[in-house]
Symmetry: C2
């Protein structure tokens, strides 16, 4: 069955399409009697305005285009969920595309969004400012996620350095002085920032502490291997910070397998706060991806309403202390 259009309603109510439009949109300059006739016709025909036609006419879609590398895992689902919450709270919708870390795909996705969105939220982590300029249409505002440099556009990021620094402060407060850091992949921005933030804060708060950094790959086994190597080398470590929870959990298990007590002999901390961390009592940094998504949407809607928007927001993760470290005194 064909959807009724505004003309069908106008005919049914014996008025012009202009009057139907005014009634639908709640304009005040409509005679009450006319309004009633129109509303009756709307009900009778089950009329629902065509949003695409309205967008075209008003050059406004009340839709936000979202382009992310992937949709895999809690990280992205929380991000999208936060965006959805903030968007629907302000009457916006979400048009979703994945780009698989491929700028060509991103270009395609953004082209397909032209005319259907009022603004964009794009996570193109590795993109350079010039690439972003080529990618993003100059005609609509865009907010970036986890980009090093947005080339003047608002950027929202998780503050990895501040997060890692919080772990360093926690270790320092516990009096730990022989510390192992299991790094994430060297090629990974977050991994580098976590290491840097941890190292700098530790140096600042506990200059006498000894820090050993070993490579890792974010997998559980890397955490286990780091502990085995440590034990073999005879290095007397009293605290371990792994760049993510999976490696921290691997380290924790391996310590216990070797009859070391956590947190009695060695305290362990991770990063991300995956569900397993809560279940197994791992101290970690909780990353609020939903808040990041929500804030990005709010920034974009402010831009769309011409109310400006922050330049760069770094969302600091929360330290969640659990049984794998002691509570500070």
């Amino acid at each position: 069955m064909r959807q009724a259009t505004i003309r069908d309603v106008a005919r049914e109510a014996n008025v012009s399409v202009a009057s139907v439009s005014r009634t639908i949109n709640g304009h005040s300059n409509v005679n009450p009697a006319t309004r009633e006739r129109v509303l009756a016709a709307v009900r009778a025909l089950g009329y629902v305005p065509n949003a695409a036609a309205r967008s075209l006419s008003m050059a406004l879609s009340h839709t936000i285009g979202v382009v992310v590398p992937d949709l895999h895992g809690e990280f992205f689902s929380e991000l999208i969920r936060g965006m959805d919450t903030a968007a629907s709270a302000t009457g916006y919708h979400l048009l979703l595309s994945t780009m698989h870390a491929d700028l060509e795909e991103a270009r395609h996705a953004i082209a397909a969004m032209n005319g259907r969105v009022d603004g964009l939220i794009v996570m193109a982590t590795q993109a350079q400012p010039e690439e972003l300029d080529a990618l993003l249409p100059a005609s609509i505002p865009a907010v970036l996620l986890n980009c090093a440099d947005g080339g003047g556009r608002p950027v929202f990021t998780i503050d990895d350095r501040a997060g890692a620094a919080a772990i360093a402060a926690h270790f320092a407060a516990l009096g730990k002085r022989n510390i192992l850091h299991i790094m994430g992949p060297e090629s990974n921005n977050d991994a580098r920032d976590r290491r840097k933030g941890f190292e700098e804060e530790l140096k600042r708060l506990a200059p006498s502490a000894k820090l050993t950094v070993v490579p890792g790959n974010y997998q559980e086994e890397a955490g286990r291997a780091a502990v085995r190597d440590m034990l073999n080398s005879g290095n007397k470590v009293d605290a371990i910070f792994a760049a993510n929870d999976m490696m921290a959990l691997g380290a924790m298990q391996e310590l216990r397998t070797n009859a070391l007590d956590v947190p009695g002999d060695v305290v362990v901390a991770g990063f991300d706060d995956i569900p397993l961390a809560g279940f197994l009592g791992l101290t970690t940094m909780r990353v609020h991806m939903d808040q990041l998504g929500a804030q990005a949407v709010e920034c974009l809607t402010r831009l769309l309403e011409g109310k400006g928007g922050e330049e760069r927001v770094r969302l600091v993760p929360d330290l969640v202390i659990r049984a794998s470290t002691e509570k500070p005194q």
Copy 2:
């Protein structure tokens, strides 16, 4: 900067908009020289067609509207991810809305999609067929998820009964005869189906087995409580099936706390295969929400292309045997 339109391109290339349109859309009836001039103008102006205008003109958006109750948790994120994979493989986009189990919100979301989507995928689990008829526009096809009755529309569901039956068969094959089922909330469709499927298959394969069913609420603590009650009552159970993984994990922990061996004394199985289940070695049913989403999208695109579509697909979960039950002989 204003986006260039097809008229700008036509002027720049000194042709009519019709020729620009034909070139853009790869029609064959364009003189090569004209085509080149047009393409040059497109490049020069950075022209990108307005997708909303095209949709309106062609009455085709190549977009699928997705309405789900929520975006929380792995369940939904996997569903959306599966949809995205299938959609982008066939050149479709996803317009996303959440309805929070509220039919009025769903109506609103669907109204906002009118004219912007070619079809709908809706998860309105509790909706009756008449409510669905009132909710869904007759003008475009819709595919339903996890609905008991789609009122003639295609419905895609997880086959909870078959999944639970697989656990029953597993227990029967292991020779278990004194069995406890920890149910999910009575009000929950899935929970009821899981119980029913388990009970029927057990009766069929092991008529002599004794089955005790106790209530639960999908929380870890309900699993623990069920085990405590069982131990207090002196009931000699040799197998436990919990309606979801969290309760199964609670039960497993509580058994071990009480010096019972899993799977030696009691085998335990859950449902869902959450990440924790893998980490802690819980036997469970793996639910492929991504496949469900992908199949729903494929069904809908087939409908859109007039190629019909299945009426009702029940996706059977996979039995994943881990250390919490023995391997069958």
